[in-house]
């Protein structure tokens, strides 16, 4: 399978008055055609900024300071705005967290979908309308003709997120970045949306980056998982490997804090402390102050190490105690 996206050493920093915030500080990953990558981390770990960096939508005072983003073999980290505009919505699409906010409240669904097509293709309105209708049908919206005439406020949250997903798939993109698309939805709708997204990536061969803080969501959906902490990838590997044998203490902690049936009655594991202040990062390993396995050598920052297709940034990999 060919690589759709290859990110190497991406650094996106924000130059604020209070200091430089290293929101993304050396992130590498590749996404192949038809593959779903789960990008997991707490709030503020830099996962959304990674997504926006790929789209070239980092507003000042933020800037991509280093690294390369290769999309279908072409470098886009330094591409000029008009070129990026041609990619956005066309080759790379985005799905956002809150479907209540991402549709323009004063425009009808058909207006917004047709606009998304006509921005990239010179085809008759009627054809664009038909394609929008088919796209809505594809994500499981009943009577799509009627829904097209609706305003966003007439649709429920789940329905709106389906519209957003249909819009993302409209131009048959090569890559979709989904930024916590199910967080604002209730669990049953969440399951349906994940199902639709998975089905569509399989059908169309679209690669997907699924950004989330919920390992449980990604476990059943993603092919590979990258765990981010404080702007860096701390662990990366095939989903089954990462879930079954987590190596980084942070991943172990995240997995331990997911409620599951075989721990009934016990207290859920909790990672102590808070994400570090981005302006005053701990020296050495950023996770060390919260880490159970922290040792004196954690005062030097661990480098990424690579073993059997897995990448890890830790001096003290956890092996035996995966199922804490």
């Amino acid at each position: 399978m060919s690589d759709v996206l290859e990110v190497v050493g991406l650094r996106t920093h924000f130059f604020t008055h209070a200091g430089v915030v290293k929101a993304v500080d050396g992130v590498d990953f590749t996404v192949r055609k038809g593959e779903v990558m789960g990008l997991v981390g707490e709030s503020g770990s830099g996962k959304s900024i990674t997504g926006f960096s790929i789209l070239g939508l980092i507003d000042p005072p933020g800037r991509i300071v280093d690294g390369s983003i290769r999309f279908n073999g072409a470098e886009i980290a330094s591409a000029p705005e008009p070129e990026l505009q041609k990619l956005r919505g066309n080759r790379i699409a985005m799905i956002f967290q809150d479907p209540m906010m991402t549709l323009n409240p004063v425009l009808r669904v058909d207006t917004q979908m047709i606009e998304a097509i006509l921005a990239h293709e010179d085809i008759p309105r009627q054809t664009a309308w038909e394609r929008s209708r088919d796209a809505l049908g594809l994500v499981g919206i009943p009577s799509p003709e009627e829904r097209l005439r609706a305003y966003p406020h007439q649709l429920s949250g789940g329905m709106r997120q389906r519209v957003a997903i249909a819009t993302a798939f409209l131009n048959r993109p090569d890559l979709i970045i989904a930024d916590e698309p199910t967080t604002a939805l209730d669990v049953t709708i969440q399951a349906q949306i994940i199902h639709e997204a998975q089905k569509l990536t399989r059908q169309t061969g679209t690669a997907m980056i699924w950004i989330t803080h919920d390992l449980a969501v990604v476990a059943g959906l993603a092919d590979t998982i990258s765990v981010m902490y404080a702007g860096r990838i701390v662990e990366q590997g095939k989903t089954d490997d990462v879930i079954d044998r987590p190596l980084h203490p942070y991943t172990v902690g995240l997995l331990g804090s997911v409620p599951s049936a075989n721990k009934r009655g016990q207290r859920l594991y909790q990672i102590e402390g808070m994400t570090p202040n981005m302006l005053a990062m701990p020296k050495g390993c950023a996770f060390a102050p919260r880490c159970r396995a922290a040792a004196p050598d954690c005062a030097t920052a661990p480098e990424i190490t690579k073993t059997d297709g897995r990448r890890l940034r830790c001096h003290h990999p956890q092996i035996a105690e995966a199922a804490t």
Binding site: L55, L57, Q85, K86, L87, R88, G89, N90, A93, M94, F96, D98, M101, T102, L103, N104, P105, V106, L107, E115, A116, A119, H120, G140, I141, P142, S143, E146, R147, R149, A150, Y151, H153, Q154, L155, S156, G158, M159, A164, T167, T188, Q192
Partner: protein, 305 residues
């Protein structure tokens, strides 16, 4: 899966709830606003139909007889019709003159309102869209303009430009564009940071398209409110200028001119020459303002119960 979705279909009801229908229903909840809107409608219709429902054309000097001057309400004119509201000093039937005056007052108010809205909207959007130094300069000019009373700005301009409808409209536009610019810029700044704008960027839409197709329609609600209130303001401003004698000429009497004409007779008991045009002006401005207030209540989600 269809089962879970079936209850979520509001469009199955016979009448589709468009934003406009919801808005209209909320607007008519207030009785005062409904009355004001009806009154405003009647005033506009009367003004539009003036040539067909008045006995005299006050602009046509052949129809105005000086011998009819200063007749009290209900007197019979020389030409045979009854002057229900009396006549002014030059023998104009006040009922006819008021309706013709309303035409001028309303069209000056609306025309200057629309032009000022267009200009202010464009400048405000430009400020919000460009940001940085351009925005600072534009907004300081707006501040400067707003620190002068609108009446003073208009008065100075008309004094320089001279009389005439076009000059009055120009003066009113200059006096008022800044209100629109400030409103649009404020709302556009809020809208610009909303997620749908980010989503539109992610669809690869051009910046101009995002500004005009996505941000602008979301700024319209406060603009409509400001536009209504400013139109009422423009009408009374025009009347003020005409009353002071720098507005419209005697031959094209607007309400302000009529009020000024009667002013000298007030103390001699001939109240009608000023009072009836004054009442017409009052009703017009108050009804527009009441409609504007209700629009603000309906369109501003923060004021909703």
């Amino acid at each position: 899966m269809t089962d879970t979705i079936a209850p979520e279909t509001p469009t199955q009801t016979a009448r589709v709830e468009t934003p406009f229908r919801r808005f209209a229903a909320e607007f008519f909840e207030s009785r005062i606003a409904t009355v004001a809107l009806c009154l405003l409608g009647i005033i506009i219709v009367l003004a539009l139909l003036a040539p067909w429902i008045t006995p005299q054309n006050p602009y046509d000097l052949a129809q105005v007889d000086v011998l009819d001057g200063r007749l009290p309400p209900g007197s019979e004119a020389f030409a045979g019709y009854t002057m229900w509201l009396g006549s002014d000093g030059s023998g104009r039937d006040l009922y006819s003159a008021i309706l013709y005056g309303l035409r001028i007052s309303l069209s000056v108010g609306v025309a200057s309102g629309i032009i000022a809205l267009m200009i202010g909207m464009a400048i405000g959007l430009l400020a919000a869209y460009a940001g940085g130094r351009t925005e600072t300069i534009i907004m300081r000019v707006v501040d400067l303009q707003l620190s002068f009373p609108a009446a003073l700005v208009a008065l100075m301009l008309v004094a320089i430009l001279g009389k005439g409808i076009d000059k009055i409209i120009l003066a009113l536009v200059v006096a008022q564009w800044a209100y629109y610019a400030r409103t649009v810029r404020g709302t556009a700044l809020v809208e610009r940071n909303k997620e749908y704008v980010e989503a539109a960027q992610c669809l690869g839409l051009s910046r101009l398209r995002i500004v005009f197709r996505h941000i602008l329609p979301n700024c319209l609600a406060p603009l409509i409110v400001v536009g209504t209130v400013q139109t009422a303001h423009a009408i009374s401003l025009e009347a003020t200028l005409s009353f002071l004698g720098v507005g419209l000429p005697q031959t094209e009497p607007s309400l302000g001119v009529l009020i000024a004409n009667g002013f000298e007779y007030m103390l001699s008991g001939r109240y009608w020459i000023s009072v009836f045009p004054g009442l017409a002006l009052l009703l017009t401005v108050v009804s527009i303002n009441l409609v504007g207030d209700q629009l603000r209540d309906v369109l501003n989600p923060r004021l909703k119960k």
